[in-house]
């Protein structure tokens, strides 16, 4: 009797990750085919629509790019921490904290020239996100408190804070008592790029590229790699783990906060409870699929954005939102599963199970 087992490859397949995406996509589309036929839709039309709406023309691209911006920045935030073996599960809240910072500047700087105001808003967004990550960073670095728990719990705090603001202090007097913050002034809006795309696409691209260079080419990135590989080795090499953990977690929060600022200034009219929209949690998947590498984050975020936009578009064809959500999940599942195959190969072995030994 023989059965398949996964065997770790000596080295990760070169170009394995993009290939994995391709395979995952195909398998997911095949499984989705069954689902669509079963629910009475023409799968080719549905797939065609998904593609058209997300990548079919410049307008579709612009919408997809806008969606990829918060996904990519949140993914980068998670990846920065992840490259050191830390898990920032709090990007969702840090996006909110960043948006609060940016919205606050927009409230007081309504008369400022647009470039000054937007720069100040984005700086406040970075500070806001970093501030929310400060507690977990210090607690982790100084006394080893698990950052997964602390960052996760602070999500709730940041989201409630936004609720409190829009229901109370920041409620627009002209909103007929709806819990809505006032619209952003025009000079607080990021300029457009093409079609629907806003300038945040460029900013996000630059930030991701900067981190990509920092991670692979600088001494700071090298120290991060060493610390992420083994804490004891880092100490041996004279790298202060405590300081690295602290800066990396705060930086991670700052990047997520930046995403919140961009989202507010580029895509939203005003700050709302729904502004973070699950981007922070999706960022965890983005970072994991990108193997915690900044260079991969941009590509994964783009795919993720296209899947989301395409998935939403088919709801107008009468495909229920649950089928659309399942399709989106299938595609991501396929990509994750295939990603495993770039690191492992399937071998048939004879006989019963054998224990892996050192």
């Amino acid at each position: 009797m023989s059965r398949p087992v996964l065997v770790r490859r000596e080295q990760v397949l070169r170009g394995g990750q993009p290939l994995a995406f391709g395979i995952g996509l195909c398998v997911a589309l095949l499984v989705g085919l069954v689902l669509l036929v079963g629910s009475g839709h023409d799968p080719l039309r549905v797939y065609g629509r998904m593609f058209e709406a997300s990548l079919g023309d410049p307008r579709a691209w612009s919408v997809t790019l806008n969606r990829a911006v918060p996904l990519g920045l949140a993914g980068l935030a998670v990846a920065v921490a992840g490259s050191m073996g830390l898990w920032n599960i709090g990007a969702e809240g840090q996006i909110m904290a960043g948006a609060i910072g940016a919205a606050w500047i927009a409230r007081i700087g309504g008369e400022w020239p647009s470039p000054v105001l937007i720069t100040a808003m984005l700086a406040a967004a970075i500070l806001g996100g970093g501030l929310l990550a400060l507690g977990p960073a210090v607690a982790r670095a100084r006394i080893g408190v698990n950052e997964i728990i602390t960052t996760l719990m602070l999500n709730e705090v940041a989201i409630r804070l936004v609720q409190w603001l829009v229901h109370g202090r920041w409620k627009d007097p002209g909103s007929h008592n709806f819990p809505l913050a006032p619209m952003l002034p025009d000079n607080a809006r990021l300029p457009g790029l093409f079609e629907r795309a806003h300038f945040g696409v460029v900013l996000a691209g630059v930030v991701i590229a900067l981190f990509g260079v920092a991670a692979s080419r600088t001494a700071w990135g090298y120290e991060l790699r060493v610390a992420g590989s083994s804490g004891a080795t880092a100490r041996y090499a004279g790298i202060s783990l405590e300081r690295k953990v602290m800066t990396v977690l705060i930086l991670s929060g700052g990047v997520a906060g930046f995403a919140g600022g961009i989202e507010l200034s580029g895509a939203a009219d005003r700050i709302t409870e729904g502004l973070s929209n699950g981007f922070g949690f999706a960022g965890i998947i983005v970072a994991a699929l990108a193997l915690m590498r900044p260079s991969g984050v941009a590509a994964v975020a783009l795919l993720f954005g296209a899947v989301q936009i395409g998935g939403q578009s088919i709801q107008t064809m009468g495909v229920s939102s649950s089928v659309s959500t399942i399709l989106q999940a299938l595609i991501l599942f396929g990509a994750i599963a295939a990603g495993v195959l770039s690191r492992y190969r399937v071998e048939m072995v004879a006989g019963e199970a054998t224990e892996a030994t050192g």
């Binding site: 000596e10 080295q11 920092a214 080419r217 600088t218 001494a219 700071w220 990135g221 090298y222 790699r225 060493v226 992420g228 590989s229 083994s230 004891a232 080795t233 880092a234 100490r235 041996y236 090499a237 004279g238 006989g351 019963e352 199970a353 054998t354 224990e355 030994t357």
Partner: protein, 527 residues
Amino acid sequence: MTDPHIPTSPVDATTGNPPAVEMLDVWKRFPGVVANAGANLRVRRGSVHAVLGENGAGKSTLMNVLSGVYRPDEGEVRIDGTPHHFRTPAAALDAGVGMVHQEFRLVPSFTVAENVVLGACDRIVRRSAVESAVGALADRFGLATEPDRPVWQLSMGERQRVEILKALWRDARILVLDEPTAVLTPGEADELGAVLRHMADDGRTVVFISHKLHEVTGFCDEATVLRGGRTVAASLSVADTDATELASLMVGASPVVTERPPDREVGEVLLEVQDLRCPDDRGLAALDGLNLTVRSGEIVGIAGVAGNGQREMAQTIAGLRPVESGSVHLCGEDRTDATPRQRFADGLGYIPEDRIGVGLAPRLSVTDNAVLRTYGRHRRGPFLDAAGAIDHCRDLVDRFGVRTGPLDEPIAGLSGGNLQRLLVGRELVDGPRVVVAAQPTRGLDVQGVKAIQDLLVSEREAGAAVLLVSEDLDELLTLADRLLVMHAGRIVAEFDPTTAERHVIGEAMIGHSSSASPASGDQGSSR
């Protein structure tokens, strides 16, 4: 696979039973290492049997073969006279062999009872029923435990009892314990001894790995001694032997060829440790007033039974472990509080005991690892000069004969010997003034051992002060100009390697300092 002339299992003269465990001519090779080279073991049913040997003697490998974790390359395992080829630990357990590993395999958030029955309970049962069943089993063997306590609340000794209960619950008739007393306080170790005796009297068989001789003479019936993967003494009756004989069997008695040129000149003191004290990871005193000096142009060897502070000594000198009191002087300067990086800059090369995970970063490339100490030199502003780092790495790899694949691939593909060449080369490439080498040749094949030893000798010739910690007494006697024996966190004896007798060194290692020759020269026991 087995020799045709291996005899059938001899029958116990008094009981008429075949031996509970027989391992015949077991070979097990790992890349670059032969862990077992024809090891034999025969254990009488109903006895407590000690397997003795220094670290690297092949004890753990042999026990892992017995319990189905490893499959032997050659040789045979017989349980109660029947040959077995275990593919998994579960198969070994089916035949009655249960192992208690050095690292416990328990779920901290589960209770004692839940851990005991985990994976050995085919249907859902009431918690109270399981707890009382586990409690009854524990009482039967005198294993004091509270079945409803979560494991994270337990001491190491209690956790070990849970591991033993796990094996008993699965009805192990042959219990294998891998250095069970390493994690115990002396009081707990005595209790464990009583429990093991009790089990043997109950008709079970206990195989007990240790390198603490007093435990062996305290509660074991028979002992088998391994050295270099071979059995050097099989099933000695403990009643007919003593600690001294066992110690000399463990360390061996082969003639030593010294490579030392006569009348060596030694220079100034480059490393001086004074009255150093520090706790170990459990908070117990690891270094308890350590004094030593190493001069330019000499290799000072540190011998001792594992766990007597050697590890902590190397770490404190390297700056990786804070000291409680005392001082470390490098090249005449007080560097007790200096960081590891400052000490490297002072000329301290440190070869840590744990190659991967301390000395080398596992997932990083060969180049990244080659510049671990000196990446600051390849800085261009905030950037690292990748080409410079690769040049440095290539230079290192060529000079120290490291066989590698592409330099930008992770070091995971390198063999043990090449990893150690890379690490040692990195520490020596700048010509350090002081070298601290902890177990630098452990687990390497013959070629690798020779290469590393030659490097240490050439450092001495170049005038470095070399402190060599090793569990291989032959290595120490070959290389060292002076041999210090460490016991319970301090130096208890000093020997001249050219004249020292092994059994005297062995006695000093087990703490019988009265019989050791008095320390000579400018240092020695702090007493």
